[in-house]
Subunit: 186 residues, 2 copies
DNA sequence: AGATCGATCTTTTCACTGCCAAGATTGCGC
DNA sequence: GCGCAATCTTGGCAGTGAAAAGATCGATCT
């Protein structure tokens, strides 16, 4: 048994994501994660400082993945409906990250890495809205509406308030209600 | 100092709501609430059983208030835009209730009182959508879209992701984007 | 090769929390 | 008045987050 774990930081983040996805963010304990990783109580503190530090790292990872997911959908030519569907898909595939990302009470909101990842995600989303600017209308308001729509849908599904048979399909359907002229989503 | 507090249950719920609104749901402790109420450690347990029990009572109270708020907006003739604005207003005025209501990991989801309050709120919301059925379109999908829009907007504002100057006005504005033919919101 | 230094992990400890068991106090109905 | 049920207290246990101090490893430099 090596004294050094090898990749403890990554192992802890993965274990935390699994635990949160199953039992919610409040159920995760640093000591429990340490036990799973076969490591002592205080080991996580070295990598993350404290509990908010660990959750902040998880949130930053989430914002990074969200930025990549949305940017990829945009480059694939999915239009704003495709980007919205990608947003929902990310939330449903990474529920733990998504849950932590939007609970500032759990995070160290002054963290640099977190701010950078948030900015990347924000830029990726804004790029999709900017493309629609030529078509007229208040781009800022349209962006707020689009974000609210997909964010709310994802949140309601994750909380169990909505239980659709085909979440991705329904996500596209409601996005087309807000953007009926977007023909890219077949 | 009376041995009986008089209205401990209400006092604990109010203190919990205040604490959650300020510091988030994970920061609340039964012992801390008991101290604020000038009562011993185990007193809250008698009224709520355990911590999920207390948060469940808070969530049920929240669903009740939401049902009243939305029903009132409907009877006032505000149309679906007015109901959406009422939903957002409730969330911003009662952030602690709203936060707990949509985090099933914090609640006893099999609680009867909670289920009843949820049903009341669900009925109040559905009534607004049903009125629009005559105008054609998929009423179910429209309802999901409307709920997602206002719920997402409220969540994003509460999480600090959006910081609008006039949240209520912007809520109405994005609701009109989804329901442009609803003329009731001046 | 050998010494050094920083990164990584452990052990120990403390205050705090949720929860349980057992008992004390109060007010209400008979 | 008396008992009874509701309400609250005390004491205790296991688990948690966090800090302090020390042990071990691995890379780097000479």
């Amino acid at each position: 048994m090596a004294y050094h774990h090898g990749d403890l930081r990554r192992a802890l983040l993965a274990a935390a994501a699994a635990a949160i996805a199953e039992s919610g963010a409040y159920a995760v304990s640093l000591r429990g994660l340490a036990r799973q990783a076969g490591v002592s109580n205080a080991a996580p503190a070295h990598h993350f400082g404290d509990k908010p530090g660990l959750l902040t790292a998880l949130a930053a990872e989430g914002y990074g993945m969200l930025a990549d997911t949305v940017a990829e959908a945009r480059l694939a030519g999915g239009g704003i409906v495709g980007m919205g569907a990608a947003y929902v898909r990310f939330a449903l595939e990474h529920p733990a990250h998504f849950e932590v990302m939007f609970q500032p009470g759990l995070l160290r909101t002054d963290d640099e890495e977190l701010a950078a990842a948030q900015a990347r995600a924000s830029d990726a989303l804004a790029a999709g809205i900017a493309e629609r600017r030529a078509e007229g209308g208040d781009a800022g308001l349209t962006g707020v509406a689009a974000w609210s729509l997909v964010h709310g849908y994802a949140t309601l599904v994750l909380s169990g308030s909505l239980r659709p048979e085909d979440p991705r399909g329904q996500a596209r359907a409601i996005a087309r209600l807000l953007f009926p002229e977007d023909a890219t989503g077949h």
